[in-house]
């Protein structure tokens, strides 16, 4: 067992080094001195308080989406539809704010309503994917992908249609909400302690659920082998559905936070790849909830830090994406290689 851990770590480290090597080569080809470029990423992420705060802002939704997909992964589900769930969260949060913005309800309550609406919207969208799977026999990957497109289409319809800015037809988004409906942020920044707090709470909930509860054990049983779980008396489809609902609620909350704390309005592509990135983080950490917090932070830091690559080295800012995806790809390949090698040995 101990030996296995070391071999495992060896493969992970090897994959990481390989990813670093390849990105270094890309940097050299792109004409950026690699060491300086990595230095720029670091200073871009941590060089100032402002940058660090930008990292934290990016970290919060990633925590939520990763925490969400850990639940669905545990139930053996590929919740590709998480992008759409986050989008629906944003749409529902916007709806909630719009419903009450012109009433006498206190702003704090409206903000809370927005967050709850967001969670409900995400959960609803996930429930659709779950229902398609459970009752329609549609694989959740295809169902989810389809629902992602529908969510985007719905956003575009709302932004160009009923919720458009007066006199404007643009995908720039809806009219920003009044400042009193913004989720409170640390003075002078766009960082919402509420957003961060709720995101960390979500990770803790997932960690405890999967590690320390009978419920989590059953959920994993469903994920590992649905038939056996069913034979042992676990209500399997209800568990799958619950996993979808919880994941959807987290994703919806992430979407609601984007609306209430970051953009203050609804715009297309508001999920911005956080859902997919969450899937990658979950795979990278081999579905171990304990690693969500640091690895999601690392990814968020890469997102923000790599902006400097464009400013200082005139590289494209999507370099961060290349590095992140390479990392996941190679680590997955490494896991596959390890399993094959160990089987042979």
């Amino acid at each position: 067992m101990k030996k296995n851990i070391w071999i495992n770590l060896g493969f992970q480290a090897g994959a990481f080094l390989l990813a670093l090597l390849i990105t270094t080569l890309i940097l050299i080809f792109a004409g950026a001195p690699p060491l300086k470029a990595y230095g720029s990423i670091l200073s871009g992420a941590f060089g100032s308080q402002k940058n660090l705060i930008a990292v934290l802002i990016s970290w919060s939704p990633l925590l939520l989406t990763t925490a969400g997909v850990l639940i669905t992964f545990a139930a053996g589900l590929w919740n590709i539809g998480i992008e759409g769930q986050m989008t629906l969260g944003a749409i529902f949060a916007t709806w909630g704010l719009r419903l009450f913005q012109d009433t006498n309800v206190s702003p704090a309550l409206i903000i809370a309503i927005g967050l709850l609406f967001g969670m409900a919207g995400g959960a609803l969208w996930a429930a659709l994917a779950g229902a398609l799977k459970t009752f329609g026999g549609v694989n959740e990957i295809f169902g989810g992908l389809g629902l992602n497109f529908v969510a985007t289409a719905l956003t575009i319809y709302l932004v160009f249609g009923p919720w458009k800015r007066p006199g404007v037809g643009s995908m720039s988004g809806t009219k920003p909400f009044d400042e009193k409906l913004w989720l409170s942020t640390l003075p002078g920044t766009a960082l919402s302690p509420w957003g961060i707090g709720l995101s960390i709470l979500a990770v803790i909930v997932v960690f405890i659920l999967l590690r320390g509860t009978y419920f989590g054990l059953k959920l994993k049983a469903v994920g590992k082998n649905m038939r056996s779980a069913f034979m042992l008396g676990v209500p399997t489809w209800q568990y799958s559905m619950f996993a979808f609902l919880l994941c959807g609620a987290f994703a919806g909350l992430a979407g609601a936070i984007q609306v209430e704390a970051v953009y203050h309005r609804l715009l297309p592509n508001i999920s911005n790849g956080y859902g997919f990135l969450g899937l990658l983080v979950a795979m990278l950490i081999n579905y171990q909830a304990i690693w969500v917090i640091p690895i999601a932070f690392f990814f968020a830091a890469l997102n923000v830090g790599s902006i400097q690559l464009q400013i200082v080295h005139k590289m494209d800012s999507s370099f961060a994406g290349v590095l992140q995806d390479l990392l996941v790809l190679l680590i997955l390949l490494g896991q596959g290689a390890r399993e094959r090698l160990l089987k042979k040995a």
Partner: protein, 417 residues
């Protein structure tokens, strides 16, 4: 087998993301070849300015025009250095979770003393950034915050808003289209809908109508002018309508000239394909002065922005401390509309414009220079209501805030109020 599928799916997903990330880096990277040689000769501290571009710096359109204006400033102010960020728009996948004002702060971290926000899409963020960073100068291209006659006038002492009077460029484009069209059907490839895009499409129509009736002596009712909006300044797959498709639809339904109102070159690219397939079609691209080079044999001309002179003048005031908040709506230099040092708006004629029509365009430009104002009443809105009374010239505010398209134009207006 059961385990294989998820694993394959995981690989496919990761691969997809790698590829999509790579795909976003079109012309990512040549090394900064032009070393800042001027720095040595420069005065004590070089002036660093940041430019936030909504599109790519080499988009052959709106953003490239801004980028080249930045290069122009670098050339004219010894030691000046431009920093830039590309593809900064609402929901840009390049900057997940980053607001435009946060990105501007990153430029400030690298020493920028002035930030250009180049698009209306950043309007709110530009004002917010200016408020939060009183020590940094802000240029809001195409914004109207600091316009005292504007509808949304908001004092912002460290901000200057700049726009070119592209209405003239669009009139010239419309004129060239009307003179050349054999079907009398002109298409306008529109971006999103707002005050700016309505007035520019309308200006193209006014130019077309004038040349159609006054120069060709035809009846205005025989001229068809249709606007199709894609929903944003450029194509965002899955979000906007596809401008390639829109241009094709125009050409395939008898519109033989398409005027572009978007940041990129789809109309002229498609016209070239149709032309090579034997169709008689033409195009007028937009924004960037060299755009006829994309396909000279279908290009009637290009109305373009020349932001350089205004940026230079404004940045000089930032350097010497004479900066004054305000709004500039800069017209062409009528002595030479293509003078790179003096004219904010220009029009370069294309190879596909016949000699006869070229002379007519010159005549039209001379008339405009001589004071011809096509924004003179009677001008009716699309719904038939009178907007500018007979004989009265529209004020700047009436032109800027055009609430609908005009009578005689087809297409969506999204009326304000």
């Amino acid at each position: 087998m059961r385990k294989l599928f998820p694993r394959l799916a995981a690989l496919a997903l990761a691969l997809m993301l790698v590829l999509s990330a790579c795909g976003q880096a079109p012309a990512a990277t040549e090394a900064p070849a032009a070393a800042p040689a001027a720095t040595e000769a420069a005065p004590s501290e070089p002036f660093v300015f940041g430019v936030i571009l909504i599109g790519a710096r080499n988009d052959k359109g709106y953003s490239q025009a801004h980028y080249e204006a930045g290069l122009y400033v670098e050339q004219k102010i010894p030691g000046a250095k431009m920093l830039y960020l590309e593809n900064v728009f609402s929901g840009s996948p390049s900057y997940p979770g980053q607001t435009t004002s946060q990105l501007a702060s990153q430029l400030v971290d690298q020493g920028a003393k002035l930030i250009v926000f180049n698009s209306d899409d950043m309007k709110d963020e530009a004002l917010k950034f200016a408020k939060e960073n009183p020590n940094i100068y802000v240029i809001g291209a195409s914004d109207d915050w600091t316009w005292k006659d504007g509808k949304t006038y908001t004092p912002s002492p460290n901000q200057i808003d700049i726009m070119g009077r592209m209405e003239y460029g669009k009139m010239m484009a419309g004129c060239a289209a009307a003179l050349t069209s054999k079907t009398g059907k002109i298409g306008y490839l529109g971006p999103l809908i707002n005050d700016e895009t309505r007035r520019l499409a309308a200006s193209a129509y006014l130019g077309a109508k004038h040349c159609w009736t006054e120069m060709l002596g035809k009846d205005a009712s025989e001229l068809q002018f249709k606007v199709t909006w894609i929903g944003f300044w450029f194509n965002i797959p899955g979000v906007t309508a596809d401008p390639t498709q829109v241009a094709d639809d125009f050409y395939n339904s008898g519109y033989d000239v398409v005027i572009s109102g978007i940041d990129t070159t789809e109309n002229i690219v498609e016209a070239k394909k149709m032309h090579d397939a034997g169709k008689e079609v033409w195009a007028l691209p937009y924004d960037f002065k060299d755009n006829c080079n994309v396909a000279p044999d279908v290009c009637l001309g290009v109305p373009y922005f020349n932001w350089g002179p205004a940026y230079l003048a404004t940045m000089k005031t930032a350097i010497d401390g004479t900066w004054q908040e305000g709004f500039q709506w800069n017209g062409p230099d009528w002595a030479d509309i293509n003078n790179p040092d003096t004219s904010a708006v220009g029009f370069v004629k294309g190879d596909a414009l016949s000699a006869e029509n070229s002379a007519k365009i010159d005549e039209f430009i001379a008339k405009l220079a001589g004071g011809l104002d096509l924004w003179t009443g009677p001008i009716n809105l699309q719904d038939g209501t009178n907007y500018i009374a007979d004989g009265k010239a529209a004020t700047d505010a009436e032109v800027w805030y055009l609430p609908q398209l005009l009578e005689g134009m087809e297409g969506q207006s999204v009326p304000s109020n």
